[in-house]
Symmetry: C2
Subunit: 151 residues, 2 copies
């Protein structure tokens, strides 16, 4: 996907929440957390490979990046302002700085696209790119998610 | 996807769990539940359209079916026997009748593929197919998931 397509998809997916306004805030939180859990599942394996804690497997990398390309579109409509009082790790900064949050979400999708386009590179290059994508995750968590012990 | 591809993918995804054997059973449960939550999110909208509770929107149908095509591959490696003692709604029948469970999982993926291939049909036909896919979800929940009040 190119930059414009991603921005369009992001806007659409941010809008999709309001199109189904009947959803309970608790469900929105549960669904966005589910998307993040699965992003963690499939990106986590890539990170273990990048850190040489798992053998690099090009087929699993290709599958996980394809999954991430879809999963990366899913959390955003769950960050509706209607969820602000539901207990979660999401910080109020998300709703105070929606443009910054949107940019961070966009950066994540951009990095997934980079990984998708880079799959013909050699494992060493891929590991560097996975590591860079991991920093983008971390940057957004640092700004917009409650600190956890593992941070 | 055709039948053989789905069976291959299913076998691969059932194997993928054991390939990453270091995973905690609690995480496997959390991840498979996350996949089910998102399948519920994107199939739920289709069901509302099929029941005329939401206006039929061919673009949202196409997007959700594409999402479901990917999400439908994700829960299965989480149903590892290692999770049998983790509290969840999954019934022991899953591990007593693994072939029946695998067949139910396969039927779900087959129905998603049918929806994917049927998207040029008219809304009335699509609604019937969504309804049929919903019955496949329900069949598996009835056999393999603890009864809930809404069942």
């Amino acid at each position: 996907m190119n930059r414009i397509m991603i921005m369009t998809l992001l806007s659409l997916s941010l809008l999709a929440g309001s199109a189904l306004a009947a959803q309970k805030p608790e469900d929105l939180v549960k669904e966005r957390q589910a998307a993040m859990v699965l992003i963690g599942k499939y990106f986590g394996t890539l990170e273990l490979m990048a850190k040489n804690k798992l053998p690099f497997d090009a087929e699993i990398v290709a599958r996980n990046v394809a999954y991430l390309d879809v999963l990366g579109q899913m959390p955003w409509d769950g960050f509706s302002e209607a969820t602000i009082n539901v207990k979660s790790e999401a910080l109020p900064a998300i709703y105070k700085n929606p443009d910054k949050f949107k940019k961070a979400a966009h950066d994540m999708e951009l990095n997934i696209t980079k990984l998708k386009n880079a799959q013909k590179k050699n494992p060493a290059d891929m590991k560097v790119m996975i590591d860079e994508a991991g920093k983008v995750c971390q940057f957004c968590h640092d700004k917009f998610r409650e600190k956890k012990d593992e941070d």
